[in-house]
Symmetry: C2
Subunit: 316 residues, 2 copies
């Protein structure tokens, strides 16, 4: 008996600093309604879905606080939660979390179709720098504004979706196979993730172009889905946001690493696929039967060191 969940990715176009929250919320709700109209049971929104990607800005504490949610839900987001429950649709959404103890995290929530809080994740792989790069208009200050995730890489059972085993990642996490593997070691069947990824260097440097960056984004989602025999849904905030370009490339990927659905543009857009969780079984029991084939005794350096250590140069 197939265990099919119809899943939507709700890519958004840019959300500018000037956008009032009610307008942003209305856009997210419109995407939710479109997805529900197409029969989706789960909608995946981007990372930091309620605001501009503020880590590109140098902000003082007061300005920074305005981007953070003190609790979830709260009056600033309640309508999205309410509408989702009305429609019987669950969702993943990324947001800036201010914990009761004052710590700030780049977080994501997984909400069931009945409004139940299924799980929370706090981003582990924070890119960027603590100190602003001098002389640059656009920064990447996630290491300054957020604490590292302290919840590990948890998975959650979703009773209403055939008891699916669901894991969450956020943006840069998707480029790190360790993150996927810790989920895979918990038999994950569905990885949901949102992202904001620069399409080019907004300061005018000579870096990779948008096509290459979009290729990278899909490549890591496809390969890590395959290597862990899991479905994956990766959803962008896209387009030119406050003068800085973001890639699109939102996609739904099957456990063979094949793209089942993908976004065509850089604006608000819903993609949908029927995801049969039982398609994970083939990989999990054969090629990627971890118990039969992994060799953890050979993987020591992965946890014993953070950085790379090159062998000494040859004497020539």
């Amino acid at each position: 008996m197939a265990r099919v969940v119809r899943i939507a990715g709700a890519q958004t176009g840019p959300i500018s600093q000037a956008d009032p929250r009610p307008r942003t919320l209305a856009r997210l709700i419109a995407l939710l309604e479109t997805a529900a109209g197409r029969g989706a049971e789960l909608v995946v929104f981007p990372e930091l879905a309620f605001t501009t990607f503020f880590p590109r800005l140098m902000l003082d504490d007061a300005a920074l606080d305005s981007y953070f949610e003190p609790a979830m839900p709260n009056p600033n987001v309640q309508k999205l939660f309410d509408r989702a429950r009305e429609l019987g649709v669950g969702f993943y959404v990324g947001y800036a979390e201010r914990a009761p103890d004052g710590r700030r995290f780049n977080s994501a929530l997984l909400v069931g179709p009945d409004g139940a809080m299924l799980g929370k994740y706090r981003k582990m792989h924070l890119p960027g720098t603590v100190e602003p790069r001098p002389g640059e208009r656009y920064q990447q200050l996630e290491k300054r504004y957020f604490a590292y995730g302290d919840l590990g890489f948890p998975v959650f059972r979703a009773p209403r979706w055939h008891d699916a085993i669901v894991g969450m990642l956020i943006c840069n996490d998707r480029r790190w196979p360790e993150a996927w593997r810790v989920l895979g070691l918990q038999s994950v069947e569905l990885v949901v993730l949102g992202y904001n990824s620069a399409a080019y260097d907004p300061n005018g440097g000579n870096a990779e172009d948008a096509a290459l960056r979009t290729f990278h984004s899909k490549l890591v989602v496809q390969a890590n889905a395959y290597m862990n025999a899991t479905w994956a849904v990766a959803v962008a905030k896209a387009g030119v946001e406050d003068g800085a370009g973001l890639i699109g490339g939102s996609c739904i990927v099957d456990p063979n690493g094949r793209i089942a659905a993908e976004a065509q543009g850089l604006a608000d857009e819903v993609i949908v696929a029927d995801c049969d969780l039982d398609l994970c079984t083939q990989g999990k029991t054969k090629m990627f039967d971890f118990a039969a084939h992994r060799r953890p005794q050979a993987y020591g350096p992965i946890v014993a060191q953070a950085g790379a250590v090159a062998p000494p140069p040859s004497r020539r």
Copy 2:
């Protein structure tokens, strides 16, 4: 100053049980000469390059021994080593190794352009089963015929190739991101690997077809090359060998995960690319600056357990 090495992949078509070794050696030497004629400084041959893929056969000890090399080089392979040195071309070659203590390994050698032995690797991720699957004509008995590799995942400096940091993998290893990561943690700049990968279930089962399996093979090489900011050269033994199909899909992949060269067919074929090792620097110092961005404190399960452990089902 660019550090360019011109590298060839020497894909071979099938090598049958009936093929006499001199004929096989002549084919490998012809590929070597073609590669040298195109200016290659390093030629990558497949896994178990000198024989049919014998783990598909149920063999007694005496028959099994006939597939193994008691030392490298030895009179049965000497001509390849001699011709390579004459041409000033180095190579990677996979072979069945019988160690002096009698243990058998699925191994690969890296030989410099001057004939120097740069390194040896013994395959870590052995697929298949120890016991034959009853009633099946074609087996996969690597776990029966080989011991697990006991050399870790070493890298080697190659003085004649701009002091390149080279790592080796063999076949199934390429699907395991842990293997690539241990190489990446040693700043690997070039991963060379050979493979024999079934194109379909030779026993007639309803498994993935050749197109999907070839996609998988390229996907893991491309993504793991990107995620470790390294060049990768993956080379197949291809075509229908003793009644069992093998995928082709040999490719040379750059540190962005893009295919720089790929085989077109399933027969003996040489592919060539100029590999600038300095193209690894961008990834290694930015997106994949491991010291800045990895979080080994969150990766514990990767070494603490081999198999996957699913969370308990929900009570419903």
